[in-house]
Symmetry: C2
Subunit: 205 residues, 2 copies
Amino acid sequence: MPDGTIEQKKGRKFDQVLAGARQVFLSDGFDGASVDDIARAAGVSKATLYSYFPDKRFLFMQMAKTECQRQAETTLEAVDIAAPIETVLRDIASQMVNFITSEFGQRIFRICVGESDRFPELGREFYESGPKMVRDRMVDVFHLAIERGELQIDDVTLAADQFHELCKADLFPRMVFSMASEFTEAEKMRVVDGAVDVFMARYGV
Amino acid sequence: MPDGTIEQKKGRKFDQVLAGARQVFLSDGFDGASVDDIARAAGVSKATLYSYFPDKRFLFMQMAKTECQRQAETTLEAVDIAAPIETVLRDIASQMVNFITSEFGQRIFRICVGESDRFPELGREFYESGPKMVRDRMVDVFHLAIERGELQIDDVTLAADQFHELCKADLFPRMVFSMASEFTEAEKMRVVDGAVDVFMARYGV
DNA sequence: TTCTGTATAAACTGATCAGTTCACTTCGAG
DNA sequence: CTCGAAGTGAACTGATCAGTTTATACAGAA
């Protein structure tokens, strides 16, 4: 105990349970997932599962939080801020579009939306570690570009939200309402370019 | 039978059942709603309910379709197309924002999103009678404005989708993830004005 | 009056599922 | 070698719920 693993709350199967939960919740939704299925997917007995998590809701929340954090970390990292603002925006837009149209993005969104009436904490958690983080990151980028005289923005947070929304045009509703599940590069490009164009027309110098 | 009511598929309690379904589904979601509750809310026996609708899913679909149509009819009607395009856009944006932030808009969206994995028809139905109709209507407006030399748009449907998305900035994520349930007029105005500004900067002559 | 179609209440079936309990195993530390 | 913590599997409880059935009521039309 003097060294090593302080990180984990409890025994060795904790991560296993979370992985099983991830798999089953993501493919079946909250109500659709049965605890027996999760235990089976995790390769763990139900009793063990319940020794780690007090109930199904809690397990779900924990899973969702973990997943969101992981996602937020990998997104918006590989953007070259030194490049001209149009390039930066195009990169960011691409990443957003890719996330929105990804299997994972779609599923986690679906569950959070559907369930955040019954447990609002979930929605809030997701917002904080998802859209909120993206917005903050964008605001930073904008400030930099403003300093460099590339952009002129009065309401920076609004601009960030607008950009984010612009990246959803067409794709998002079609995705979310099961009109399409995959998109061609051309379809994505159309939206990305459109978003950058509109944004620059208003906020470019 | 020579005159009168051809419209209804079956007997007198049909609408009652639908009304009960509307009430319970909208407040409890699909899984949350029990058929017994619906029958009770409708003031109808369960047997009667099942004589009208083959099962719960079908009842739900029917309710959602009906509601969407009703909503689509009342929205985007009282817009004065003769007015200058900026005014027209502002009116439309206001209506969109009001719908997005409405109790009903939020609930129906939540259910459709959460459930359209399990029955994709629902999502499609909603898309066709919701976003799609709005888009078509907007495209008409744009064409008119282009003819009048007020707008210049290459990809008209993309522009319509962009405008729609711009109206969701900030408000929509906060609403959907339970960060807020009501908004001040000022908050709404900020988004409406922002949307029109951005849109006109790109597509205005 | 009688027949028919629509309605009802209430009991019932069959299934699912969250969460608990229990008797038993495994394995590492002292 | 033994103790105890962590894990297992299977049975069990209690509850909910979709959908069915049955026996009954009541209307208007023939």
